[in-house]
Amino acid sequence: MLRAALGVAFGRPWAIPVALVGAAAMWLLLAWSGGLIQDYPTGWEFHSEPWRLGALALLAGMFGLLLPLEAAAVAKARGAAGVAGGTMGTVFGLLSMSCCAPLVIPALLSFVGFSGTTILSINTAVAPYEAQLTIAAVAMMALSLALVTRTLVAACRLS
């Protein structure tokens, strides 16, 4: 089913550039918000443990796949019964983004006006569960891909 959906989504000429740009943007967002990229007086540096690097690459790659699938699903399923599945796919995709690196949550909270001490408390509370959160993020991204794939295949059957 996934192969069929990818065939439809990546049959469009812009799908591969969108996937690559989306994956790169997601990788940068996660790396920056996770504190892996730092601006020192001597210049920018990137440091990470291998497992975190692998998790970021996996999530960014999955997000790159998700974008063309989402676009194709929305285009195909517009007004059809499968839209709910596509919406849920988007929701899980967004959740997996914010879940992946605990520091993404403080970055988002800061953006919407939470205080520094609240962010510090949340950051401290979630830090011991980083591995579990990362696994949950990958699982949610996988669920997102599955939901969008199902939506796209169902919409193709209807049309």
């Binding site: 504190g35 892996l36 730092q38 601006d39 020192y40 007086p41 001597t42 540096e45 440091h47 990470s48 443990e49 291998p50 403080p106 970055a107 800061s110 205080s115 520094g116 001490t117 962010i119 510090l120 950051n123 401290t124 509370a125 830090a127 011991p128 980083e130």
Partner: protein, 152 residues
């Protein structure tokens, strides 16, 4: 920070520590353990808080005044966070500091010896450069006292 503080007073009771091995890809980064430290100075006072332990669990709590500083000067809760006399704030690892890569894999004693002897090494230069920035802020907050440090 310790190098800067020692120009204004005497820091005793400190210990040797390291960051967690392999965290963020660094092998072992030496650092001071200031939990039992005492600072005496005729010019300034000093206090520090560690908000997480080595297992990343909540450790020391911030008092209301410290929370106010965080809310005012560190809205993204970056760390390390340094506030001097309620006037000058440094937050995040990169603003005035140096990359942990500069001292990664070296022993505490080796780095301290380089700093104490003002050796011409990347570690010593980076630490003294950061210390001078902190010294400048402290001098601004003490009105230039002591002259032996602030006019040096």
């Amino acid at each position: 920070m310790v190098t800067a503080l020692q120009k204004f007073g005497t820091l005793t009771g400190w210990g040797k520590d390291t960051h967690n091995a392999n965290e963020f890809g660094f092998k072992l980064v030496p650092t001071y353990d200031l939990l039992g430290a005492k600072y005496d100075s005729p010019y300034i006072s000093f206090s520090s808080k560690e908000i997480q332990d080595h297992q990343h669990k909540p450790f020391q709590k911030l008092d209301p005044a410290e929370q106010d500083y965080i809310n005012k000067y560190d809205p993204k809760a970056s760390y390390p966070f340094l506030i001097i006399n309620g006037q000058y704030a440094l937050s995040g690892p990169g603003k005035a500091g140096y990359s942990p890569a500069v001292i990664d894999g070296q022993s505490f004693d080796d780095v301290k010896q380089q700093v104490d002897s003002n050796a011409d090494t990347p570690a010593s230069q980076a630490i003294h450069k950061e210390a001078q920035i902190i010294v400048n802020y402290i001098c601004a907050s003490t009105g230039g006292a002591p002259a032996s440090v602030c006019k040096a």
